[in-house]
Symmetry: C3
Subunit: 210 residues, 3 copies
């Protein structure tokens, strides 16, 4: 079981790093910059979570995340122009990463004794905050605030996880249900182009007024 | 007394969340994105403060901030196009939030045994850093770096709070003086359009040179 | 010895703050905004490091960083238009700061019992992350991701520091070798315009695809 989760963790980290490196490449970052953006995409969410939970960020305890980002970097350098044909594969890998990271973040927060609603937020931060940091680094408005169901899949998956725990299910069953929920919501949302409504509350540019 | 402070906290959180949600709306964020920007505006400063003070961020101990941001969200969705007529009200609420958050941040830092100048900075971060995070998320230069007296009101209020403590005043009196100072400085600065000078040190674009 | 390191620390902080204040000035920030950007450039890297190491950020224990940034501010206000003639001096001061901050960050991380690769990253964050925060505040793509050898000098210096420790050298010798390595790599890179290659992996704008 451990090794299967580790494989999923590697796949998810790889896919997250690839997403950061490709966006950095499109902005003409140098190799170092692209590596850092890839790394921040992969570990940023977990680091923010761990800093708020007041535990040592997980990347500081295991070099696997640095190594995995290096693999992603070589992969983009070597196969760069063919990557566009792998978009569906990366989408699937990215969704696996999102599901796993959400479940890990949720479980870690519950294990530290926080209430379920903190765990749902921490699960979502683990899954989605890396992408926000990535978009800040490349100086774009974070994608997840405007497009597709992404972090909402983490919230729904966290609720499913919590629901299973409330029903007295085994921990590993709850994890699988929570993770599969994230995966299914994400895939269905993209397949059927389900999006959240744009907030049309206020058409004026409010920068003028604090 | 407790309940009066809680009402002020609710008003301040509501006003901060409204400011984030309205700016997100002007950038055409979806509902989820707008909620996150509102939440980050409301709790971002306090979270940054608590992470540096090495205590659990306050939003993780009480769901009121999430609930209050949800109210702000519904408020914008329902009353969106009328909000512009409430700008003066929101300005007043926002100033109350600024005053209260500054005082809370100052007091918490002093209570943890840090010197007064750390408390002044932490008070200002509690009041003003949420707006900086908001502006980074919407990909704008932070408003408080360029416009109006905002964080300076927190600094002056923190100095007043500290002065009162130095004079041997009761803690709650010092809090009221500190908070009223923030409120008055902020309101006078906007009413009489008092701004800090633009820094004209260096006209060349220094991006060229590290 | 202590006082010599303190002088270097002052020089480095001053140069980092100047770099932030000048860029803020070019964006027409007000005095307060410029001070905050200068301060964030000077202390941002160390603060991020200390938050992840779970120790109190160093600026909260000594007001020297605030005072030094205030000196930098007055310097820019008074000598603004002559600063361009001092670019070579600032480049040298900035490189000293980079070298010292890297060594301090590396040493502190090792002293807390973390492995060498965490120390190398923490040294690089201490040296280079302040500049990233500065560039996010002024709403530009971080310079270190696209231009010149900068953070790479920190990585190489960290490796040299670690190599010396592995060879059984005294701690202070290792620090000097590490710091000189950063300084030399940085100066040679700029003198001979050595840059990292641009990542050409993926020409398409990947914002379209998560």
């Amino acid at each position: 079981m451990i090794s299967f989760v580790q494989i999923l963790d590697f796949i998810g980290t790889f896919a997250f790093a690839i997403s950061g490196i490709r966006l950095a490449s499109a902005k003409r970052f140098d190799w170092f910059g692209a590596y850092i953006v890839g790394l921040a995409t992969a570990i940023g969410g977990g680091t923010l979570r761990d800093v708020m939970l007041n535990v040592t960020p997980v990347w500081m305890t295991d070099p696997i995340y640095l190594i995995c980002t290096a693999f992603a970097m070589f992969f983009v350098i070597i196969f760069g122009k063919y990557l566009i044909h792998l978009n569906n594969t990366f989408f699937f890998f990215d969704s696996i990463g999102l599901a796993l990271f959400t479940v890990v973040g949720f479980g870690k927060t519950i294990a530290l004794g926080f209430p379920f609603w903190v765990a749902i937020i921490m699960g979502s931060i683990t899954g989605a905050a890396g992408g926000v940091i990535r978009d800040v680094f490349i100086n774009e408005i974070p994608l997840i605030f405007r497009k597709e169901i992404y972090a909402m899949a983490c919230v729904i998956g966290g609720l499913a996880y919590w629901g299973c725990l409330q029903l007295g299910m085994e921990d590993y069953v709850s994890q699988i249900v929570g993770g599969m929920t994230v995966l299914i919501v994400r895939i269905l949302a993209v397949k059927y182009q389900i999006t959240l409504p744009i907030l049309k509350g206020d058409p004026t540019n409010q920068q003028e007024k604090e």
